[in-house]
Symmetry: C2
Subunit: 143 residues, 2 copies
């Protein structure tokens, strides 16, 4: 339904408003993309996919928007491999897995006791990043 779509857009708008982010068209689109594609996309993935819909979109805007979202804390950045930042809408600490064959990044729903500690060996912990690498279930089947 169109009503449903408009309703969803309105919710996103209100969400950005609450975060003091002016809900421009591009920002809404990028936010929507992140929410609907929890594949930890790179800037390039976001840019390429949204360009189909929004031909005037520039990569700079994607960078600007993601950095704005990062600063406002509504997305987090993963640096699993050098030379590509991936963006993640889900902000709760969780585990990531990257397949060395297909390059996909999966969320792992695994509790880790490390998440509960606030002080470790005298250091105050504010962020947790855990990622595993290997061969994903899909690639394993293909062999």
């Amino acid at each position: 339904m169109n009503n449903e779509k408009e309703l969803a857009m309105k919710k996103l708008k209100e969400y950005l408003d609450r975060k003091n982010i002016h809900p421009s068209y591009h920002r809404l689109k990028i936010l929507k993309y992140l929410i609907n594609h929890k594949i930890h996309p790179t800037v390039d993935m976001i840019y390429k996919n949204l360009s189909k819909e929004i031909p005037t979109l520039s990569k700079t805007t994607v960078y600007n928007t993601l950095n704005l979202f990062l600063r406002k804390g509504i997305v987090s950045g993963l640096t699993i491999d050098e030379s590509e930042i991936r963006y993640d809408y889900n902000t709760k600490p969780h585990v990531h897995f990257k397949c060395i064959k297909c390059g996909c990044v999966y969320d792992i729903h695994l509790k880790c006791p490390i998440f509960d500690k606030e002080i470790i060996e005298g250091h105050k912990i504010t962020e947790h990043h855990i990622y595993l690498k290997g061969i994903c279930s899909e690639c394993l089947e293909k062999v």
Copy 2:
């Protein structure tokens, strides 16, 4: 003692020989630096520090050597933040902590049950990377 130093160098030489790496002067120096400075240095740190001793050293050689060591499996690369790879001589899986104030990277000696699993949610795990961020004990004291 000079004898001690020579003995240590001889051991490093033999170590590289066993790994089928021709133990050139530069390679020995870089390996020695990594072993003696377990601070997860970046290429730049290694380059700047060794340049004092070896004025002719070029950054390319540092890159070449580290990539060789990576391929041969005698060091591992950390990508805690985008746009800087840090090199780690210790190859056993362990936890890293990066201070957001001073930028130092510490090893954390913490057992993590995740290290023992070989299959998680159908994915075959071959590498584990865990890093935490926050404020290190030294920076906490300074406040």
